[in-house]
Amino acid sequence: MLTATPEAEPAAPAPAALEPISADSVAFFRIGFGLLIAFSSFRFLAKGWVSSLYLEPANHLTYPLLDWVRPLPGVWMHLLVAGLGLCGLSIAAGYRHRLSRGLFLVGFVYTEAIEATLYLNHYWFLTVTALLLIALPVQHRWSMDARAGRVVQSATVPAITLWAIRAQLGVVYFFAGVSKLNPDWLLKAQPLQLWLADRTDTLIIGSMLDAPAVAYVASWSAALFDLTIVGWLLWKPSRKWAYAVLVIFHITTGALFQIGVFPWVMIVSTLVFFEPDWPRHLLARWQKPAVGKPHARLVSGTSIGRLATASLIALAVVQLILPLRHYAYDGNVRWTEDGYYLSWRVMLTDKAGFVRYEVTDPATQRTWEAGPELVLTDWQANSAATKPGLVHATAQLIADHYEAQGLVRVEVRAIAWVSMNGGPAEQLMDPSVDLANSDRTIGPSPHVLHRSN
């Protein structure tokens, strides 16, 4: 229980980053984050996605270097996702914080590594935020661990705790905004023009969504929003209005597109831009002031160790490098997808693809054709058809398939066509390359054909 404490001895002034601030906001963030994880996990179970997305496919498309990752068998996979939900509840309650955050992080990363077609930017956000929360002292307020005395109970945290979370959110918005600064988005209003025209059945605003001008306004507004919202949220005079716009923005995108819990993650998370003690002020509006009972004083009971500080710096550096790494590669990242993962390229490009494979048995020189459906489900095949790395991975699965049938390692070449943002279809991969016997790498793929326009 938090109690009033006597005045502390005057101490040497702390650096600004370590100045104690109210722990209310970061505690609320931890609770919201945990509850959203729990909701997301239980929703995943309720929709039957564990079976349809992880257990039913005979094969999975994995990330380079992670080919060995496989789903757990049957009920264990369900238990794992249920366990992630329980970790979420545990994080929210502040119960066994290190264990719950650690287990969640390991379990979540493993789950995400199973199937690359299911990559989502907001899953990456949950991952890095979980990592961040392990390093930050967010368990000292409103937590079962603090009540039970397993951690020091404190009404304050070092300021850097709040600023690290704010910076994480800033990274998401900023790089999402930077990625929108491309000719398709700004000069052609694509892909929003395509997507909005398909949403004319939306209540109230539907009838105007197929107007090109609406797509242009939406494209420019979204870019401006992503690039500037953090600034507006940080500036006190504009904060409330900026948050209102943010809520409308995310609810609108959530209504228009099937993006899961992403809007709610951002709506809840961005509350950290308000004053550190905003939950207390909010609660004060509803609670009667306690007569004769002094308010708890802010006590600087937590700090950030060297290891945690080093981890935060490392995480920050990685977060800056990952979204920018595509500049080191040739070609348009939206086409090649080299440097596409983990870089906050949210709802940025529309692609539709068609791929078939030419298979050659080197022993007989016989050549035949195979579709991706030979080794993938329809949803995997549709998603993989537009992504060079996954076209490559599919070719290797096809070779594995025939190898299992007793053939020698066959050669597999991809005839892949992709339309980006509704433009003319172009060949995605070099059709002369045997992808089955070519290694996949985490760097740029040498087999992608660059776009002509």
Binding site: K47, W49, S52, L53, L118, Y119, L120, N121, H122, P191, L194, W195, A197, D198, T200, D201, S207, M208, D210, A211, P212, A213, V214, V217, F257, Q258, I259, G260, V261, F262, R345, V346, M347, L348, T349, D350, K351, A352, G353, F354, V359, W368, E369, A370, G371, D378, W379, A381, N382, S383, T386, K387, W417, V418, S419, N421, G422, G423, P424, A425
Partner: protein
Amino acid sequence: MTKSKRAHRRVVVAVAGLLTLAACSSDPPRGETLAGLANEAIVPAFAQLADSTTSLQKAMVTLCELPSEQNLADAIEALAATSWAWAYSEPMWAGPVEARNSYDVIDGQLATGPGGLGLIESQISVNGALDQITEPDCAELTRVSTLIADEADAVFEAWTVSWNGGAGYVDGLATSDGDDLDMIVNDSLVLLEAMADDEIGVAVGAAFETATLDVIDEGPAGLGTSDMRGHVAGLRAIFLGSGSSGTGSGLSLLLDDTTTATLTRQFDRAEAALDAVGSPLKAEIENSLQAVGEVRDSLIEIQVTISTEVVSQLGVTVGFADADGDTGS
């Protein structure tokens, strides 16, 4: 001016701006395009099917009442016309045909062998059919052809007069939430894949399995090539319209000019390729492999354009996608 008045003025200006933006739309609304597609292509297709099945039923009755070489030839001709009309309608089966399972009646497979059109074909297209058709056969032919005609009439009525107690299905397309468009495009892709891969592809040895003609869906009348022409004509009507020029309507109203031009060229190529292939299709595969290969290549070309540019521009979901997505592609 007070603050309140200024705020009201801003709201009015914003609403006016949005309405102006809405008026700037250059393309016809999707519902309007789908309704146009239904009226210009789909309804005429099922009217044609209803007419041809009625003619077939009459030809069966005439043949059974007055068996003659001429009446047999008329019946075979009526069968070919019906088979073509049925093939033409296949890309348009989304809606009443699928809901009613009309193919079970019109062209289904029975436990004992072919049903519907296949049964009629197996009776009247074999050598010496006139001598082989018995009175019970005639009764069966009349019964089956009547069932087919009734089903085709029911489908036409479902489209135009009444569907599920309401107005015709065509009216619902104008307010469709996009599912119908998805189904039409998906059905078209399935049909193209069936022709290019499952039938011709396997028959010419392009698949891993041993080449075989058994996969060609062709009865003794040798209508395989004609049916493929019907399929391609139906697909053309869906994507490019069914007017005399064959362009400027259909789903092309929602596509950009480049894609429309590409599809026009590709359908022209497919039609020319099919014109160069005779009948029956099985014999042509054995004797004119190059010509049949050209048909296959042209169908794959159409498949690529629909799977990529058309799917993207129409915002169609290919297959079934249930999971969340926040990447766009």
